[in-house]
Amino acid sequence: MNEILSLAGANLLSPIILSFALGVAAALARSDLAVPEAVAKGMSIYLLFAIGFKGGVAVSAHGIDTTLILSLIAGLVLSFGLPLIAFGLLRLMSGLNKTDAAAVAAHYGSISIVTFVAGTSILESRMIDSEGYLVAVAAVMEAPAILSALWLIARSGGGARMEPGLMREILLNGSIVLLVGAFAIGAITGEKGLAEISSFIVSPFKGVLCLFLLDMGLIAGRGLRSMRGELGLGTIAFAVVMPLLGSIIGMGAGMLIGLSLGGIVLMMILSASASYIAVPAAMRVALPEANPSIYLTLSLGVTFPFNLTLGIPLYLATAQFVTGV
């Protein structure tokens, strides 16, 4: 317990988390501090490229094995399955209607790559290794949750529209393509490729992450400010309970597959995190009746900060306790 607290404390006082907190505070105080949209998008391209590339290099070094295949399958199953659990939980805990509940559920089956990146960098600073190919698992988990949510709606007679082109849009959305593409480039060029560009994608990585999280904090803070009091307590509680539940399911999956400690933690983080880029955009097309401010507030305003500050250290401590490493 003491260790969890000190772990959480160390995490809370890292530049990354403090940058996020600064963003939230600035937004709540209604400062006009803002990161230009183009710069934020540029940073996200950088982060996706770097994390994908490094994952690919790790795979090129360690080779492909059955665990990799199993992990990808586990990712698919989790992304398809978690929305069903989230939907059930929401119908229990919150007063949301079916459409809103399904839309929210889709977000929790999908993932937040920034949470994943933050997790990786916490693992690194504790020198805990993890499987490089989990980046590919992250990519695989982005989209299936959307289909589950649409199926939930269709089943209950709702009007979700699986429009022509939407499927392609979801699968080929920019962040998936960049993550998978950079992963492939890393896997092909290996350590030699990494050496060529490591002073771009490795050394400044954490600093860029700080500025990116500053912007995420600004966005989350602005969202919180405009939503104040509009969501019920049950709904907000869901945004904390679901990641906890997800992380336990993710831990089970990771142990079943035989991942390392670091790998298990990342699997927990993927399961516990919620999307705020790919899924919201898809929902606006496929489920326009769902209220975007509900799912954005939950995913970006509650779950994201929770995972970033308390969740990740908690998942790490739990995994260490359960696996006994």
Binding site: E163, N173, A281
Partner: protein, 102 residues
């Protein structure tokens, strides 16, 4: 200079819907359109600004100049896309040079 009657249709719509709207417009026989970026706005669904967005979100403004007799076809095409979504449509009377283009 000689000018010709036209209608100027202005549609504010969510960015993820942009290509669906322009596809519908093109199918309805529109010969051209212009897309402007939107910084922010306010409406029944609340207030938002560009800076508070990540990913593909946000809105765009699509402007379409057309011959007056095509207005109804265009509005119907646009409306099927806009209907269920956040956004507004307005129409103004305009004049254009080079009528053969529209």
């Amino acid at each position: 200079m000689e000018t010709h009657d036209a209608k100027r249709v202005e549609i504010v719509i969510e960015a993820p819907l942009e290509s669906r709207l322009t596809d519908a417009l093109t199918k309805s026989g529109v010969t051209g359109f212009t897309v402007l970026p939107v910084l922010g706005g306010s409406g029944r669904s609340g207030q938002w600004t560009r800076e508070g967005q990540i990913g593909r979100a946000g809105m765009v403004m699509v402007i379409c100049l057309i011959k007056p007799d095509r207005l109804d076809t265009l509005l119907e095409a646009a409306f099927t896309v806009v209907k269920k979504h956040i956004g507004v449509v307005s129409i103004t009377d305009a004049k254009v040079l080079r009528a053969e283009r529209f």
